[in-house]
């Protein structure tokens, strides 16, 4: 499917198939077309060309309110003039369910997102994390067949984000429905998804399992974007292996201090908690290595040796 805005190809010939019950992540930098793809599935936007099927049924020309798909919005989009309970029960009210039944269902959904008893409050009285859970409850209360999540954790702080990642994952397993998850955070995509599609400039650059994407990036862009790999230019790779192709090298694959390594100079170091990031220069090429924090770190300017297993050097295509 494609979606163009004038000359801008927001989504350009994207071909994607998501399996039932799968936790699927759309990963990419902002403006890469991942959110637009999600909006095409939800029905907020119409494809310029191409075809969308949801469980075998054609979705083009079907308005969002006739799609059994629910969305958790990036800004949560809770109705400010309704209580939390009415927010969660909104979809059920629209379908004509009686007040008592829908309030019971809403309370169940609130319990599922661990906010029991919050029904009477207005959304404005909740914290960001709580609003996020209400938005989630409002989406799952309808028992949709597909749940779309548009950067749902983007506005939360790190601690809460990690907690919600785990909860989302277990929720998905408990409900056994398809999750399609948009994020620009590669850590989030890798830790939660069964499969990941990496987007750039409106196109899918790679689809695969998190391991595939991380360890076997097919292009420079994917290597660079997923996990800040060292991207090595063909001339440098030719020096190392004899063949001039692009290659990627994970920072954690680099060992420092082996005797038969390449001579290198330490040019920077920074402490990130669990790891030390060390900037190295080998024959004029800058590389980043990460070593566990308990390993002693050479001072800036020190001459060291750097080495890695031949298998860690992953050869890939040249496209952006």
């Amino acid at each position: 499917m494609s979606r163009h805005y004038g000359d801008v190809r927001a989504v350009d010939s994207v071909d994607l198939e998501v399996g039932e019950g799968e936790f699927f992540a759309l990963l990419g930098p902002s403006g890469s077309g991942k959110t637009t793809s999600l909006r095409l599935i939800a029905g907020f936007d119409q494809p310029t060309s191409g075809h969308i099927e949801i469980f075998g049924e054609t979705a083009e020309g079907v308005p969002p309110y006739r799609r059994n798909v629910n969305t958790v919005f990036q800004d949560y989009a809770l109705f400010p003039h309704m209580s939390v309970r009415d927010n969660v029960a909104y979809g059920l009210m629209i379908r004509g369910m009686g007040r008592k039944d829908r309030y019971l269902a809403a309370e169940d959904a609130l319990e599922m997102v661990r906010l029991p008893g919050y029904g009477d409050r207005p959304p404005s009285a909740l914290s960001g994390g709580q609003r996020q859970r209400v938005a989630l409850a409002r989406a799952i209360v309808n028992k949709p067949r597909v749940l779309l999540l548009d950067e749902p954790l983007g506005a939360l702080d790190l601690k809460l984000r990690e907690q919600m990642q785990e909860e989302l994952k277990s929720l998905q397993q408990a409900l056994d429905i398809t999750f399609i998850f948009v994020t620009h955070d590669q850590g989030e995509a890798l830790s939660m998804a069964d499969r990941v599609a990496v987007f750039n400039q409106g196109r899918i650059r790679q689809i695969g399992s998190p391991e595939d994407i991380y360890q076997r990036p097919r292009s420079r862009f994917v290597a660079d974007f997923v996990g800040s790999s060292n991207v090595l230019e063909p001339s440098f790779v030719k020096d190392l292996t004899g063949t001039g192709t692009w290659a990627s090298l994970r920072p954690e694959a680099i060992r420092i201090g082996d005797e038969d390594g390449h001579p290198a100079t330490v040019v920077s170091r920074s402490y990130t908690g669990a790891m030390n990031r060390i900037g190295l220069e080998i024959r004029g090429v800058r590389l980043t290595a990460t070593v566990p924090a308990d390993v002693p770190v050479p001072a800036v300017g020190a001459s060291v040796t750097a080495s890695w297993d031949a298998a860690a050097l992953h050869v890939m295509g040249a496209d952006a």
Binding site: A42, G43, F44, P63, P64, Y65, R66, V69, N70, T71, F73, Q74, D75, A77, L78, F79, P80, H81, Y90, G91, M93, I94, R95, R138, A139, N142
Partner: protein, 315 residues
């Protein structure tokens, strides 16, 4: 050796520089300076004269001498209850309510379009279209309408050309609101009121709709809400404060106006005209004052009712 800049800069010279230092240290002084003059103006000159006027309503007029008796009494308010005066009040309130309702119905789609779809040049055109009529003289507009609505006017001519004069005649034949021609009927008065006050309804509704995030409408659709349900449960409740704000304008402006019904309409009086007549030619300031209290009380009830309906909850 490099010369380091001082960590604290010396105070600027002059009165203004010292004044801004003072304002920074004591924000309440700045507030007092800014608010003082308008509060004095509102409090003394505006509210003061209004209260003086209201006090007049508790005096009465001696029917024989025509002199005002400066004794506290509710006699003047009793006069308001005379059938002729009650007629005036009822007529004005009904007109104000109809104008407000019609203005809300007409303004909503216009405001919705402007808030949701109009961008760039179209938005500028929208504002120009709404504001332009406000720049020309009110009297010119009202007289223009009198010509449009007159028996020899363009509206009659159009109806005649379309062979629809029968329709116009049927409308004018309706008792009470009809008349000899549109320009001397309540329908005419209504149309002119509607035209003149419409911008005051469109702008607040547009401002309220502007503040409704698109994602809320998408969320409603996502939850299965069709256009009508989304309007009923999301768009309208969130735009209601704007509609109420607009209705306060249209309602109170219609309640108080005395020029439009004088130029276009039947010769029966509205509240504004009654006030004008009593304080001017009749010299009955107490009754004029009592009449001005009526819109104030009605607006008070109106705002109270709107608040109880939750119109201001979403503010």
């Amino acid at each position: 050796m490099t010369v380091l800049a001082p960590a604290i800069l010396p105070p600027g010279g002059g009165v203004l520089a010292r004044l801004s230092d003072l304002f920074w240290r004591r924000p309440s002084v700045l507030l007092a300076v800014l608010l003082g003059p308008p509060v004095l103006w509102l409090g003394v000159i505006y509210l003061g004269s209004l209260l003086a006027l209201l006090a007049q309503s508790f005096f009465s007029i001696d029917e024989f001498s025509g002199l005002i008796q400066y004794e506290w009494t509710l006699k003047t308010y009793g006069e308001l209850l005379h059938p002729a005066n009650l007629d005036i009040i009822l007529r004005t309130v009904l007109m104000a309510a109809t104008v407000t309702l019609a203005a809300a119905v007409i303004a909503f789609p216009i405001a919705y379009y402007a808030a949701r779809y109009a961008r760039g040049r179209w938005k500028a055109l929208f504002y120009l279209g709404i504001m332009l009529p406000l720049w020309s003289s009110y009297l010119v507009k009202v007289y223009a309408w009198k010509l449009i609505l007159a028996k020899e006017g363009i509206l009659n001519w159009i109806f005649a050309k379309l062979h629809m004069t029968w329709l116009l005649d049927a409308v004018l034949g309706i008792p009470v609101i009809g008349g000899n021609s549109l320009s001397v009927s309540y329908i005419g008065t209504f149309l002119v009121f509607l035209y003149v006050w419409l911008p005051f309804m469109i702008l607040p509704v547009q401002a309220a709709l502007e503040r409704v995030p698109v994602s809320l409408l998408e969320a409603s659709a996502d939850q299965g809400g069709g256009p009508r349900q989304t309007f009923r449960h999301v768009t309208f409740p969130l735009a209601l404060p704007g509609v109420i704000a607009g209705s306060i304008f249209t309602f109170s402006l219609t309640l108080g106006d005395y020029i439009i019904p004088q130029i276009v309409g039947s010769s029966r009086l509205f509240i504004g005209q009654a006030v004008y007549a009593h304080q001017g030619t009749a010299g009955n300031i107490p009754l004029a004052a009592a009449f001005t209290v009526v819109p104030i009380v009605i607006m008070g009830f109106y705002l109270w009712g709107a608040k109880r309906m939750g119109a201001f909850d979403a503010l």
